[in-house]
Amino acid sequence: MTPGRWLGRAFAILILIVFVLFFIVPLVWLVLAPTKTDRQLLLEMPFAFGSFETLAANWTTLVTFQKGLIWTWIGNSAFYCLAALAITLIISIPAGYAMALTEFRGRRALLAATLIVMLVPSTALVLPIFLELSAVKLIGNPLAAILPFSFFPFGVYLTYIYFSTAISRDLLDAARVDGANEFQVFTKIAMPLATPVIALVGFFNFTGNWNNYFLPYVTLPGRKSPVQVGLAELLSNVPAFNPTNAASTTISLSSLALGTLLAIAPVLIVFLFAQRYLVSGMTAGGIKG
């Protein structure tokens, strides 16, 4: 290799390292922060490990904050997201299947509508959905999060793509000739092959909903908030960011860091486990959530 190429390669490696650090350093810091006191956060090396005692103390501050409010928030998030996940799968998988492998009136129109709505960012519909739910007096009811969370056109699209490419119509026709009715064709032939797409739809739906802030912020105020909204609430009790609350019973920076970590833990775990699916699935679908 010529010196020029060596230089080019070294430069490429340098860029990659810089960006790996950019993506990872904040997370590493976040994992370490709860092991330190506020004073240590201010004065010590950012990537030093504090102590397990401090971690335990921060944990206690966090979970005793307003009688364990953090658990209420996490419980709310889990409830809304899991209920929405179930409903999403129940409505999206058959719908995607039907659009991919059956013919019915209005199929193309429905498909076009799905694509269009799928590309509209979900935030754009938050205030309109809020106004609608408020008109039917559903604000404050868990359904005000669960139902909008369950409307997931991207999931329908993914299922549609999956069934159109993974299952041939011939296979289904063969089953029909063997005497299977339409419903059996779906349950016996399509469903057993659908595991990957169910996982993928579930992943995007769950992580997207878990991290959703705007919609539940307006539709589920107060103690019914999910953890993302709660986290912002927690922030107003941190003197460092909201100094007028200089009282003794507040949340320290490190407890806030711990709260953030706790709030993202479920998604982070799902991410780690779903890693294999993700990389292949995103490549196939070619779409982000």
């Binding site: 409505i91 404050g140 359904l143 107060g222 909201n242 200089a246 009282a247």
Partner: protein, 424 residues
Amino acid sequence: MNLLRTTVALSAIFAAGAAFAQDATGITVWADANRQPAVEAFIAAHPEVPVNLVVDDGSSGASGTFQTKISLADQAGEGWPDVVFSTQNNDAAWATKETNGVQAFAQVLNEGFLGEEFLKGFTPGALDPVTVDGKVYGLRNDLAPVLFWYNKTLLDGFGYAAPTTWEEYQALGDKLAADHKGYFLGGIGDAFEGPYIYYWSGQAPIFQLEGDAFKSNTTDANSVKVSNLIDHMVANKSLTLDSVFGASFVATAANLVAIPGPAWYAGALFQNPGGVNAKAGDWVAAPPLHWKDGEKVTGNVGGGVWYASSHSANPEAIKTFLQFIVSDPKVAGTGGLPAYQAAADAWLDGQVASGFYAGDFKAAINTAASSVWNGWGYPNFSPETAWAKIITPGLVAGKTMKDLSADWQQEMKNEAQVVGYTVE
């Protein structure tokens, strides 16, 4: 059909869950963390009233938390708290009005809700900011006139006399800057110090209301005087740009020589281990500073307000709570000067007896309390948002009040217009 049935069943469960969540006997209280010890004292004194305390930011810095959360509850048709504490004085401007067909949030507290005898116990004028057309909509937590706090030990050590006018205050800053680097006379890093402590005390017509007309004039002679003072003292670093509750202010608090500020600095700043954490006997509460050519008036920084909900299912518990929280001799005022006269007397006597503050504490507070300039308005917005948006980052970036005051004035006028005031 199964799906439909499942959905119906699920929603029935949710509805039931929501119903159980309602607490029939207790009250829900929203307050900031500074109020938490007082609320806990109430819980200890009245175990028969279960209290669910939700700690929020008390709408400090005019964050609008109170109004936003009430709007959300109005939409939900549920979830209103029974009692709310707000650090702002101007919430009556919206909380007394019906919005989109939902009744006004604030409960009228006179006219039979609370006894007239009890209400008469407030210091005269204390309830003015929350009184609209003779109806009282909130109870003041504390009175917050601005006085002048100084560290006697430090001043004596330097051999300087305590200033009594703003001119002397500025001159003291010059001396410190020249001879005692690092010592300083206050901070304007929060949004409240500038408008309420400096401009209000200087009789600057920054924030005035006449009927439906909002007026602000940063080029008035009084306004310019105050702007020049701030610019001068920021330039020689005798005023810091840190928040008085922020980490860097607290870290340098040993170098704080004097600071003009509200009565509640007593508890929230000086006697707070997380604040200045003053040593007993060091600090003096002195009568407010005034301008040589001006009247002997002073400013006012909030003095929070307790509101009751008109939606509450439990008005009796609310009455018990409100009466306790504003008048209990031990907790009323939450570290500042209680608005309730009897509690104020008790608090002042206690402060004098403890000897924590040197000098004539009672006289200083009384002078300040009776000389708040009445030219400041209480419209449905706060000067703090405009300050935070224009001045705070501007000063940090090295600009001066002189550079910024036109923008600041425009921003306040714009805000006034948006919420429906006429602006010249």
